[in-house]
Assembly symmetry: C2
Homo-oligomer: 325 residues x 2
């Protein structure tokens, strides 16, 4: 059973972009079920594409409070989780509100024993060509050291599924020396070292992006700041560079000659190639796709869910957390 | 009196790079005094350049503990601060250890009334062409809301000296909505709003780099993570892009045509053009130059110190903090 349940109603361009991505995934051999408003979803599916729909009229709106989902068992993002819970699907994908996906996953799937709260893991390109798993990327803004230690286990399980044999765990800090960091970091490092993990110690963002660790652990506030700082800096650099390029004809010609390199470069760092973020710690594989997801990104998110289902992510997370108790 | 005292012994390429930068600054019309080992510094100064030296044999080593400075009144980084304290210089520059510069400034200059601890302010390029003042960039890893409110006042004074008339203050957070942020942020925002400041509210790194605020306030742990994430992301992007460019002759030619644009771009974002970071909250203008400072960066740091002396930075900081008590 490798069926992936996809929330057809979540995302800026839902359901059109979601259905198009699901159709592409089915054509590539993935087993997918869509959840959403059948009258809107069915017309978007071409004939002879085997893409079942679980109908539900209720969809979560981006301006709504995720807590409203408690009373909305019929909402598409909750139905997706229920399919996984009941064994009718093996993994879930939603490109809607991250908060709503998190709440639905906790309500209908629940958390693994030993995982008090789920975390959001995201994957970043590294300078050495590898991939960096960062968690928490924003689910938990204030974290006790014990929760960060749990995140380290969850992130290690995810990195293993991604093919890293003995993932090196780094604790995000403002310096690599022992004793660096704020109170939270100084209390967390000894805890990490007491676990059955390959802990490299404190790691700075620069070092992590160069390849000093495979998993970077931090609370969701700092993790979110790190991601948005990286995004903002790259955006600023690209904007200012474009301004300078446009000033001279030689610049314009040079940029034209570079368009192939730019395309290949983008495919290496683009968010839509990675698929999305992964919810870790719930009893089921849940991929949180990007809100701006285009069809390619939706297909990549489905592929990501499938990969983590077949890699036994949930069992690996459970085993790691059970071994520490 | 606009004389700037420069620690000739601090920095990776000290004293050579420091003296060369100081010489260039003197030739550009600045009034400079060097502090350091005369036998090593004097031979580096060309004849007919009016650059006095205050001799001292002791210099701070990068592997030493900054706390050792308590007993080393003769150390060059402390002598620099003493010149400012005694009115023999108006501002100080050191490209040595940031921790040592901070300790020396607190010991010999002391903090302004109302500033419990100094902060490090750094200036980042913004997407809209403006400049973003970020503080604290790393001096204080754990901050109470009251200290962050003090940083907002110090940052506002610095932005004013840089020519921003009514600086817009942002509080670094993981979302712009009221109520976003961790416990620290949620406790700080109401405090900021109670001050005589133009507070725009919570600001994300992306928004800040786009120009949503002039001053971005955060604790030194998060601020340092933000800076290193920006640096790491830009480094990763540049490395991966270079790899793709080198793969095809068209890419190499394109890059060659872009070299002028790259040069102009670098001069807009380069750390050596900005001069360095500024210590805020001490009774004197102190510029913390980059450890890797080359002569251009040293000249820029001297110019930055001079600008903030003539702009009355210390008086502005004192006035702002006094008005709140």
């Amino acid at each position: 059973m490798r069926r992936i349940a996809v929330d057809a109603m979540g995302g800026d361009d839902a359901p059109a972009a979601i259905v198009a991505g699901a159709v592409a995934a089915v054509r590539a051999g993935y087993d997918v079920i869509l959840v959403g408003d059948e009258s809107r979803v069915a017309p978007l599916i071409p004939k002879r594409v085997d893409l079942p729909i679980l109908h539900t009229a209720d969809a979560f709106g981006m301006s709504e409070a995720p807590s409203s989902l408690r009373r909305r068992e019929d909402c598409s993002v909750r139905r997706v989780m229920q399919l996984v819970r009941d064994g009718d699907a093996a993994g879930a994908v939603s490109c809607g509100s991250t908060g709503a996906t998190l709440v639905a996953a906790v309500l209908d799937l629940g958390t693994i024993d030993g995982a008090e709260r789920p975390a959001i893991a995201t994957v970043l390109p590294r300078r050495d060509g590898g991939r960096l798993v960062l968690l928490d990327a924003g689910a938990n803004v204030d974290c006790r050291p014990e929760l960060l230690a749990c995140f380290a286990q969850l992130g290690a399980a995810f990195a293993e599924v991604s093919g890293v044999e003995r993932p090196r765990i780094g604790l995000l800090a403002n310096g690599t020396e022992e004793g660096k960091g704020n109170m939270q970091v100084r209390a967390t490092l000894p805890l990490l070292r007491s676990l059955d993990l390959e802990v490299v110690g404190n790691v700075e963002p620069t070092g992590a992006m160069e390849g000093d660790c495979d998993v970077l652990v931090c609370d969701g506030f700092v993790g979110n700041i790190l991601l948005k700082a990286a995004e903002g800096a790259v955006g600023t650099v690209v904007t200012l560079l474009k301004e300078e390029i446009k000033r001279r004809p030689s610049g314009v010609l040079g940029a034209w000659l570079l368009r192939g390199a730019m395309r290949r470069f983008r495919s290496r760092v683009a968010w839509d190639a990675a698929g999305g973020a992964l919810l870790l710690g719930t009893k089921g594989v849940v991929v949180v796709g990007h809100g701006r997801a285009n069809p390619d990104a939706v297909s990549a998110a489905i592929a990501m869910a499938d990969r983590n289902v077949s890699g036994g992510l949930v069992a690996r997370m459970s085993d790691r957390l059970a071994s520490e108790r």
